[in-house]
């Protein structure tokens, strides 16, 4: 192996006892003494450390770098913001892959392109050829100057955090980057990798620093893993490998780029990419791909075969080149296949955990006739025998961090045992069981539990009763008609009472919110948001109703990971209403930045810069993980000074019940619109509301009128009249009791936070304000432990929800609990009682104690709902109403 190149870590590999092998002209560790299976498993449960310094590393700089990258790569390089990376292909003119690659943008002025070791020379020559068309591009091969390590697996993040000397970790999402210092050197850190692990990092540093970094990460418990495990890991994640799934096929024909499933995310046909290399061919492939998904095979010639994952059902190992048959017809061949290990799992759903045993399964990727569908049964020819196999959608899923979860073909969730008695039960038995269980459930939640879900509230007995009276069964659709001086025209008879209720409710809520107008027919906060977004689109297109309506050009909101609510996200209610940014080809949503030292609070100065840069048409304040006031007044002042016409909306779903001098007065501070749900801090029932400060003479009033139309008939026909009657009573309660209630809620939240802190728990937020200005308290219980701790609290009758903190990837990796004090405040708990509760929470979370009886005892002191009308003066009427049920 004399001519082979060695990475700076060669001596480390040899010292560890690695089996070295030739790969792409490099002498690389194939495996360490633990072996491929153990290295694979260690990566999936702990962290695997890979030396991938053999990969080719080119930097691209110069004024024309973006244009050059747009021309020679398939992905949209212009969409790549600083601090992000993207998967991409280097296409040839006929739509095949010269290589696949990863493009990193650690700094504004320079891109890093990582290519396969085996293609480095070829890629370089190819890029040089295209470079001739550009005058100001600096393309440099930095492979020898930069060491590249890959640290992958559920423990990778804590290992890195432990050795971080300065600089921030990348944002907790795939492809995020950051610049840090560790092992005394500058490290470019990327959340990328080739294993499918949701927690994955690649490190780039000066080559000289390689051994120190390697030693440091091994010392933090990473398992060294070689190219063998790298291959089985990438196969399990169904990631392509050039020479197998990309390049040319077994008969030396080019594999179209779109044959690779990942190409969907790595090929952009944005007009802004111009006539890039292979564009025409890729357009044909994309068209064929779309038709194939619709099972239209008229363009099959452009994409005759595609890579699909398959699982073997019989014993055998499908190796590269093995022929694949369907009903006796040859339909393709295996491009990669082997046995891969997987940890055995105990439990189901969120509670599933890897146990200390592993199994092996036989999986493959195959280049198959594009007409082959998921679940098709196939036969793989192995040593002359036909081995049964099935097309599967994937072998593994990465969306439930911190673990990559193996998905085994044919596995069926254990059906939960049907509740006794058996299905043969009589109607009477079934009905009695339902009644019995409803009784038990209500007794438990209303009399034995401490309810701390911040989005929940118990309504008063009067509100509850009113919600089930006659209007619960009626319709009262109505709309204002300009033909009758904006008179409200009702479509049905018998609606006089509910007409009055709705008008009274509007008046109560106007007074409460300080609004000029309110819309009360919305039956949820999410619907209120969707109606506002729909109204925005309607309003933006008011000048021309004939053309295709355009969407909202740019929206600013709170990122879901920083507490933003789903209903204000492109993945939630915003999806159909926000435009795609032509530059990024993603929803045109910009997130409010947060303070580095307090990720629960907006960085107002940075937000102003972004507003000035992006000029959003809609700003959405409000969060579901909320500890602070939103800076409405400051942003309003800025908008006015800069003459920026953004519509300012405040989604107050969580904080609706504390609107007022003790928290925020949104319209005084400058919001145009407020939405909310009426059952979180407000007193119920479960409905939504929207309000506005817009005046009739204002141009923007057209937006309010659009909102009325997008409520009815846009969102509701029946607007749930029963709960509307209940809500009117709740609004009376709120307007009457709010001063005392709101002060108590905020004081109790601060008291709970202080008490939890005093009990030794890790309370998030700013101690200077007692951690919270709302009804919420966030407690950190350790990365990924949230679901388990929340369940333990439930077992002890303390009901709260697990919550991903701002630096955590997803709800499955939640390391925090979210608690709200509103409901228990309403049952009369005061600061000292929350102190008592804090001790119980500590006992459960820290000591694992059983405090169920103590929780029940605490709750038994707070069974009588406060801040509601319950005197004798109502008794006769309530009794009569009961009598009518």
């Amino acid at each position: 192996m004399a001519d082979l190149r060695r990475t700076v870590l060669y001596d480390r590999h040899v010292a560890l006892g690695a089996k070295m092998a030739e790969f792409a002209g490099w002498e690389m560790p194939l495996q360490y003494p633990a072996g491929i299976v153990k290295e694979h498993l260690a990566t999936r449960k702990g962290a695997g450390l890979f030396d991938v310094s053999h990969m080719g590393r080119f930097t691209v700089g110069g004024r024309e770098a973006p244009a050059f990258l747009q021309h020679v790569l398939t992905n949209n390089a212009e969409a790549l913001d600083v601090g992000m990376a993207q998967y991409t292909f280097i296409p040839n003119a006929s739509g095949g892959a010269v290589d696949d690659a990863y493009l990193y943008r650690f700094r504004a002025e320079e891109y890093l392109l990582v290519v396969n070791a085996s293609n480095r020379r070829k890629d370089w020559d190819h890029l040089q050829e295209h470079l001739k068309r550009f005058s100001d591009v600096r393309l440099t091969d930095r492979t020898d100057e930069i060491v590249m390590l890959s640290l992958q697996g559920p423990r990778s993040r804590e290992s890195l955090e432990a050795v971080l000397e300065s600089g921030p970790m990348p944002e907790p999402m795939r492809n995020a980057l950051s610049l840090v210092r560790m092992a005394g050197t500058e490290v470019s850190l990327a959340r990328t990798g080739y294993t499918g692990e949701p927690l994955c990092f690649e490190l780039f540093a000066d080559t000289k620093a390689g051994p120190a970094l390697w030693d440091l990460l091994l010392a933090k418990g990473a398992t060294p893993a070689g190219l063998g495990a790298r291959d089985t890991l990438r196969l399990e994640a169904s990631l392509p490998l050039y020479g197998h799934e990309l390049g040319t096929d077994a008969e030396d024909r080019e594999i179209p780029i779109m044959a690779c499933p990942l190409a969907k995310f790595a090929v952009s046909l944005s007009p802004r990419k111009g006539d890039f290399v292979g564009r025409a061919a890729l357009e044909r492939q994309v068209e064929a791909f779309g038709r194939i998904l619709a099972r239209d095979y008229s363009r099959l010639a452009d994409l005759p075969r595609r890579i699909q994952p398959i699982a073997l059902l019989d014993r055998g190992v499908a190796r590269q080149g093995a022929k694949v048959f369907k009903d006796g017809r040859e339909v393709g061949y295996i491009t990669s296949g082997t046995m891969v290990p997987l940890w055995k799992v105990e439990g189901e759903g969120l509670a599933s955990t890897f146990i200390e045993e592993h199994a092996l399964r036989s999986i493959a990727l195959a280049l198959l006739d594009s007409r082959i569908l998921e679940d098709d049964c196939l036969a793989v020819e192995i040593r002359g025998k036909a081995v049964e196999a099935v097309v599967v959608p994937y072998h593994m899923r990465s969306e439930a961090p911190p673990y990559a979860r193996p998905i085994v073909a044919g596995y069926v969730l254990e059906k939960k045992a049907p509740p006794a008695p058996a299905p043969a039960a009589s109607a009477t038995e079934k009905v009695r069981r339902l009644l019995d269980e409803a009784l038990a459930n209500t007794t438990w939640r209303q009399r034995e539990c401490i309810n701390l879900i911040p989005s929940e509230m118990t309504a008063s007995p009067m509100v509850r009763l009113l919600s089930v009276m006659d209007p619960a069964f009626r319709y009262a659709e109505h709309r204002e008609s300009k033909a009758f001086y904006d008179a409200d025209i009702f479509y049905y008879q018998g609606t006089e009472f509910i007409r009055k209720v709705e008008r009274l409710l509007e008046e109560e809520l106007k007074a409460f919110l300080g609004a000029r107008e309110v819309e009360t027919r919305l039956v949820s906060g999410q619907m209120a948001n969707a109606a506002v977004f729909s109204a925005m689109v309607d309003y933006l297109n008011r000048a021309d109703r004939r053309r295709e309506p355009r969407r909202i050009r740019c929206v600013m909101n709170n990122h879901i990971g920083k507490g933003g609510h789903l209903s204000a996200q492109p993945m939630g209610a915003l999806k159909d209403f926000v435009a795609h940014d032509p530059r990024t080809e993603r929803p045109a949503v910009v997130n409010f930045p947060v303070l580095p030292e307090n990720p629960y609070r907006m960085d107002v100065a940075a937000a102003m810069k972004l507003i000035d840069e992006h000029r959003p048409e809609l700003l959405i304040f409000g969060k579901s993980m909320v500890l602070h006031k939103e800076p409405v007044a400051e942003i309003r002042r800025f908008l006015d000074e800069q003459k920026i016409g953004s519509v300012v909306m405040y989604d107050m779903a969580h904080v609706l019940g504390i609107v007022g001098p003790h928290f925020q007065q949104p319209f005084d501070e400058g919001a145009d619109l407020v939405t909310g749900s009426t059952h979180k801090t407000f007193f119920g029932t479960q409905r939504g509301v929207a309000g506005s400060r817009l005046e009739k003479h204002e141009e923007r009033y057209a937006l309010w009128e659009a909102l009325r139309r997008r409520t009815f008939p846009g969102s509701v026909s029946n607007h749930h009249l029963g709960t509307m009657v209940g809500l009117l009573a709740a609004a009376y309660e709120m307007n009457h009791f709010k001063d005392a209630y709101q002060q108590a809620v905020i004081a109790n939240a601060k008291a709970l936070a202080r008490a939890l802190k005093a009990e030794g728990l890790d309370v998030a937020g700013d101690p200077a304000i007692d951690y919270t200005e709302t009804h919420q308290v966030i407690v950190r219980v350790g990365y990924g432990r949230g679901p388990e701790v929340a369940q333990r609290l439930e077992d002890n009758n303390i009901i709260c929800n697990y919550q991903a903190a701002p630096d955590e990837e997803s709800f499955t990796a939640s390391g925090a609990l979210r608690m709200g004090v509103a409901e228990m405040t309403r049952f009369g708990m005061a600061a000292k009682d929350f102190g008592e509760l804090a001790a119980l929470i500590r006992d459960v979370v820290v000591r694992g104690a059983n405090v169920k009886e103590k929780t029940k005892a605490l709750r038994s002191r707070f069974l009588d709902l406060q801040y509601c009308f319950k005197g004798k003066e109502y008794a006769d009427l309530l009794q009569k109403l009961h009598g009518l049920l």
Partner: protein, 128 residues
């Protein structure tokens, strides 16, 4: 590298242990080391007859598939289900629990054509 003295060895890195007229067959420590993690063993069918040098069954490591050839001719009388269930046994105990099949020798003299421990150890050492 472990090469027990009481076994006979083939060029293809298999071993045979003779008891009466039945030979137990497996792969050598050197072979399992070179192959790495054994992840799959395709056992021969009990009752099948093979000639010496004929393909009997296969084993696979994470990296590659290898055919196993009969070191002696005869009829397969037993196959080790334990290694089919847990192929890692071949790595962990190649001369013991990791045996693969047993064959009733058609011609016990064929055994004389195989290497003894020393000859095999020398050969294996050369390969390294």
């Amino acid at each position: 590298m472990n090469t027990p003295n009481d076994l006979r060895y083939t060029e293809e890195h298999e071993w045979v242990r003779l008891e009466g007229d039945v030979g137990t067959v497996g792969i050598t420590d050197h072979a399992q080391e070179a192959l790495g993690d054994i992840v799959f063993v395709e056992l021969p069918e009990v009752g099948c007859e093979v000639n010496r040098g004929g393909e009997v069954c296969a084993i696979e490591s994470s990296k590659a598939a290898s055919d196993l050839y009969a070191p002696v001719g005869g009829m397969v009388v037993e196959a080790n289900q334990a290694v089919a269930e847990n192929p890692a046994l071949v790595n962990e105990d190649p001369y013991g629990k990791g045996w693969i099949y047993k064959i009733r020798l058609a011609n016990p003299k064929e055994l004389d054509g195989l290497m003894d421990a020393k000859a095999y150890a020398d050969k294996a050492a050369q390969e390294e």
